[in-house]
């Protein structure tokens, strides 16, 4: 009995975790199907576009800019060890577009958007606003989840694209100001080195990460516990889950695009 108790506890935790994955998957599927089925809530969609996209631009831009600059410094310093300082433009471009751009934007969206969606919807749940929606003949999945999910699927790839460009620009500024690169050469090397697959993988990652961020926010919000503690737990859980899933999905997508 004493020996089997830890195994039983582990089994229970595993079962609960698998059940959670199942519930989240069903939730995500329902959210996606509601995007294509009327009624459509245009106002909610536009508000979500604004909140997820436009208002995230400053944080995404600053993160990408500083990361691009730091990346240029690191590559220059590391490359100097084997006389490969000249690869800075190429490695900054590939590093930003393939990995850092999508991942950092995804994590910033998880921090900024997932938390805000989860807290908002959880508060709505705690204050019976979700029940009120239902009694007013409005499906909460359709009114709350579908517009946010659609907006994230559209706008996060755009944010990733912008983040990639600003990140490369950050590397460019450091490259020409601090590391002595010729501006024209830097740009030519960057543009010539990037391939279509690099850009495509970046945007696909952005779309997947956007979907994860919005789904986690909505799922944890809709399933929040009671009171302020419930809202806090939902917000924390949503950000944790979104961040871990984004990093896991990034690994899988990188394997898919580049492992061969």
């Amino acid at each position: 009995m004493i020996l089997t108790a830890p195994l039983a506890a582990l089994g229970r935790q595993t079962m609960a975790f698998m059940a959670l994955i199942g519930r989240v998957a069903i939730f995500a599927f329902q959210g996606l199907t509601h995007i294509f089925r009327p009624p459509f809530y245009g106002r909610e969609f536009l508000v979500a576009l604004l909140n997820i996209g436009w208002l995230s631009l400053p944080v995404v831009g600053l993160t990408a800019f500083f990361t691009g600059g730091a990346l240029a410094l690191q590559i220059y310093d590391g490359g100097a060890r084997f006389s490969a300082e000249a690869v800075v433009p190429q490695i900054v471009a590939i590093g930003m577009v393939r990995e850092l751009g999508p991942v950092l934007v995804g994590l910033m969206i998880a921090a900024r958007v997932t938390s805000s969606i989860a807290a908002e919807i959880a508060t709505m749940k705690v204050t019976e606003q979700i029940d009120a929606l239902t009694t007013l003949s409005t499906h909460p999945m359709k009114y709350l989840t579908a517009p946010r999910l659609l907006a994230a699927l559209i706008v996060v790839p755009l944010l990733v694209g912008i983040g990639d460009i600003i990140g490369i620009f950050g590397g460019f500024i450091v490259g020409i100001q601090q590391l002595g690169f010729n501006p024209a050469t830097y740009i030519v090397n960057t543009v010539n080195f990037l391939q279509f697959t690099d850009i495509l993988s970046s945007l696909v990652k952005g779309m997947v990460f956007g979907g994860i961020a919005a789904t986690m926010g909505c799922y944890f919000g809709m399933n929040s516990g009671r009171g302020a503690q419930g809202v806090g737990a939902a917000t924390k859980g949503s950000v944790q889950a979104a961040a871990v899933l984004i990093l896991a999905a990034n690994f899988m997508l990188t394997s898919l695009f580049f492992a061969s």
């Binding site: 019976e128 606003q129 009120a132």
Partner: protein, 248 residues
């Protein structure tokens, strides 16, 4: 008419409803009383499909509440939530006209706003509150807006969940009178849950007492004080002594 037939509902090991049987005749105002946590809200939410009963049937005008077109079913109901449950992101008039701005009851925006302002007037609010946000209103005003939203689409059945909780006695009286007037004026069937006995006397045609997951007593409000039922008598008097266990 709303009929509960042997309705059961448990949350984990906690059996909240243990066979509720109750009939709310059409056009009457039924008030369900009972202590906190006795399942009054659960019973109400079961009718609307917000909570699904484990067993038993709920009939609305003879039809199973869980069957048929859900939108058409819900369009017959209005509900005033305990905390108002107003949508923070929408203005007062958009809250009141929520149902009239979307779905099967959709009207042109100007007409919906006009109806919202008329309903706000009906509950004693002036048109200048229409463009405020719920967070800018007092508790009593939020209740009134919630009431205006509940009646905006002229529902046949209105539910009131603890309509006077958190309000001062004068505002409670105002809300009670408003509810009574509106229910009579609209000829609606009303179900109210409360533990405020002043509300009961102001709103009810009939009273039902929910205790231990079943209806302990039901009858006209006039017979409530002389019912002879020990549970009801203790509840009305607010005494700690009696069959209802009071934890001190």
């Amino acid at each position: 008419m709303i009929e509960f037939q042997d309705v059961h509902k448990s949350f984990g090991p906690k059996r909240v409803l243990r066979g509720v049987n109750l009939t709310v005749p059409k056009g009457e105002s039924m008030v369900i009383i009972g202590g906190s946590g006795t399942g009054k809200s659960v019973a109400l939410k079961c009718v609307l499909g917000l909570i699904h009963p484990d067993a038993g049937t709920i009939l609305v005008d003879g039809k199973d509440a869980t069957q048929g077109d859900r939108d058409a079913f819900l369009a017959r109901f209005g509900m005033l939530f305990q905390g108002g449950a107003l949508f923070d992101s929408l203005t007062v008039w958009q809250n009141v006209a929520f149902r009239l701005l979307r779905g099967s009851l959709k009207r042109p925006k100007a007409e919906a706003r006009e109806i919202a302002i008329e309903k706000l007037r009906r509950v004693g609010l002036t048109p200048d509150v229409a463009d405020l946000f719920p967070s800018e209103l007092s508790g009593g005003m939020q209740k009134r807006v919630g009431l205006a939203r509940a009646i905006a689409a002229e529902p046949e059945i209105i539910f009131f969940d603890e309509p006077t909780t958190g309000l001062d006695p004068i505002m409670s009286g105002v809300i009670n009178d408003l509810i009574r007037e509106i229910v009579v004026e609209m000829g609606a069937t009303a179900m109210t849950i409360t533990h405020d006995m002043t509300s009961v006397r102001a709103i009810a045609d009939k009273v039902a007492m929910l205790h231990d997951g079943v209806i302990q007593w039901t009858g006209p409000v006039g017979e409530m004080d002389n019912s002879g039922d020990p549970y009801l008598t203790q509840f009305i008097s607010g005494s700690a002594e009696g069959p209802i266990e009071a934890v001190r």
